[in-house]
Symmetry: C2
Subunit: 335 residues, 2 copies
DNA sequence: GCGAGTCGCTGAAACGTTTCACAACCCCCG
DNA sequence: CGGGGGTTGTGAAACGTTTCAGCGACTCGC
């Protein structure tokens, strides 16, 4: 067992505890030859600093956490990567937690993270309304940045993409290409992004096209496939001619299942997704999608968070909103 | 700041430190009414246990780590999910670290994790040969399970898929469908899986087809696209008629770029990938691929690890090898 | 040659838990 | 009524670090 402590290093090097600590933390404060002796002792004993003890003394850890809705969603992995890039610059580690869109799991993660005195938190909350656990965390002093979620008030930063605009872009595009019955595929509505995208497409279709909604229990490929089954049950006349999916995984699932059932895309039904993940362009029918600056979202979020943790004095909470961009590909191009 | 400690809880509840600790850790040992008083005090003060102190005392943390080559690769996210499922059963948290196929980053992660006295480690090492940092970690007593990497000796467990067999399956399939010049696309060869898959296809083609190699610097979509550029420079006569890619991301990149350049798949060139990630089936041309039991890989790895950490006495290191399975789709079907 | 300043190092306190030996009390039995 | 045994609760030690006041020795300027 790696049970070597600073004390044994000190003994071997023939110096005091404090000196070893100084070698580790403020090397310039200790004389060259002493420092060398200590470093030799450290190497010889295979000493590894105990971070628990260090944290205990310091009061907070050197890690930040990011809690995402789904690790398997390329959108979030890109966000995570962005956050990592920024964190690395500041010498802090990122721990990735997966809520799986389950608020119980989310709460458990928050409990654990708070016990660890995590330095700060990036989170896309499962449920925005009355997330009292998160409020508690903030109130007790943990800096939090909301990711991909605009509002949230004065006591925290946030980064987001204008999802209402994204929904509108998709909707306007579909209306412009002549669709008169559009369906929004997505859910649950308790996820703010889903609600916003829905609101966007609602605005775009108001007075120009009929809009129906196919609710899904989650934003996954499997949920997309299931949604098509629901659609297929409708009489042909009541079927929408275009589908706007709340994210790309859903859209890819829809596309797969539709193709399997012999429904032609975009001729029988047009599809627009959301996120523009790398796989969207490589799909069986290249997918139109609303693009978000994924990595930048993560980078900016981490930046805001680290800025807050490093500002001893007053920190001005900010809300950064990025603009989405519609990428039209074959899946929504009328032939 | 959340500076409430057990001491203040004790004072408010009118009991001693030890009693509060007992309420937290062995509630059955303290009388009903005392317990209630303590719990009330905890709630009233918003007390949150300080994990650093707890760990310091205990000597090791309640987290296990998984270090993967690429968080953005769906293969690994599935492995991670498997590990999480298993970890959750045992009440331990999984922290996900991303080496990005960079051994420096990997080493830094290992340094940090060892400082945190992580309870155990799941890792797919960047570089198998002489990974002395990892050896050191094991030798000092951190339980390690190698993921997707078969060998590794007697002092650790491992889970893996037989990559040589996987490569052979792909090779035999391409030979059987009449290809006489096959190229292996992948790299770097220092990654054991890549070398093994290459060895497998070498075995399968020995004496029956010509095999060339297109080396890539990494296993990403971008690297796949770049590989096609290299191919296109060859005179037509020297171009392979089939490509076996070391993973699906690579294959999807190859497919995208080939399509863009007007190369027809599978007519002009057949493609077989590896991993069978969800997106493989949804690609522009559905991708043939060698399937691995991804989630089970993660679950089993975590199982072995937790078994080792919980076995106070002797633990028998085991090496679990799964069999891969070839899934033939359109990308390698001669018409 | 003396005070002031600097440099390098020491030793103890403090961080918040868990653990453990032991004390106080009660109950029941002989 | 004495003592064994169980149940509750106590208080101090220990985990490994960082920090900080302070101490000795040396240098410099006057």
């Amino acid at each position: 067992m790696s049970t070597t402590s600073i004390k044994e290093v000190a003994k071997l090097a023939g110096v005091s505890l404090g000196t070893v600590s100084n070698v580790l933390n403020q090397p310039e404060r200790v004389a060259e030859h002493t420092r060398r002796r200590v470093l030799d002792a450290i190497a010889q004993l295979g000493y590894v600093r105990n971070d628990s003890a260090r944290q205990l003394r310091a009061g907070s850890s050197r890690q930040i956490a990011i809690v995402v809705l789904d690790v398997a969603n390329p959108f979030f992995t890109d966000v995570v990567r962005g956050a990592e890039v920024e964190a690395e610059k500041h010498g802090v580690m990122v721990v990735v937690c997966n809520s799986s869109e389950d608020s119980d799991r989310e709460r458990r993660h928050l409990d654990l993270l708070e016990e660890q005195r995590i330095r700060g938190l990036l989170i896309t909350p499962v449920d925005d309304t009355r997330n009292s656990r998160l409020e508690q965390l903030i109130q007790r002093g943990t800096p939090v940045v909301l990711v991909d979620r605009g509002s949230g008030g004065r006591d925290r930063c946030s980064v987001a993409v204008d999802d209402v605009l994204g929904g509108r872009l998709a909707g306007e595009h579909l209306v412009a290409t002549g669709h008169e019955h559009i369906a929004f595929v997505g859910g649950p509505m308790s996820i703010q992004q889903v609600a916003d995208r829905h609101r966007g497409v609602t605005l775009a279709t108001k007075g120009t096209a009929r809009l129906s909604t196919i609710a899904t229990p989650s934003l996954t490929v499997a949920a997309g496939r299931a949604a098509v089954a629901e659609l297929a049950d409708l009489p042909a006349a009541r079927r929408p001619t275009a589908l706007f999916c709340a994210n790309d995984l859903l859209a890819l699932g829809v596309l797969q299942e539709a193709t399997k059932r012999g429904v032609r895309v975009p001729d029988d039904v047009a599809i627009v997704g959301y996120d523009d993940i790398d796989f969207a362009a490589a799909a069986a029918v290249p997918l139109s999608s609303v693009r978000q600056p994924r990595e930048q979202l993560g980078r900016t979020a981490a930046q805001l968070l680290l800025e807050e943790t490093e500002a001893d004095g007053r920190h001005e909470h900010r809300h950064v909103v990025f603009q989405p961009e519609l990428v039209v590909r074959e899946s929504s191009t009328r032939t």
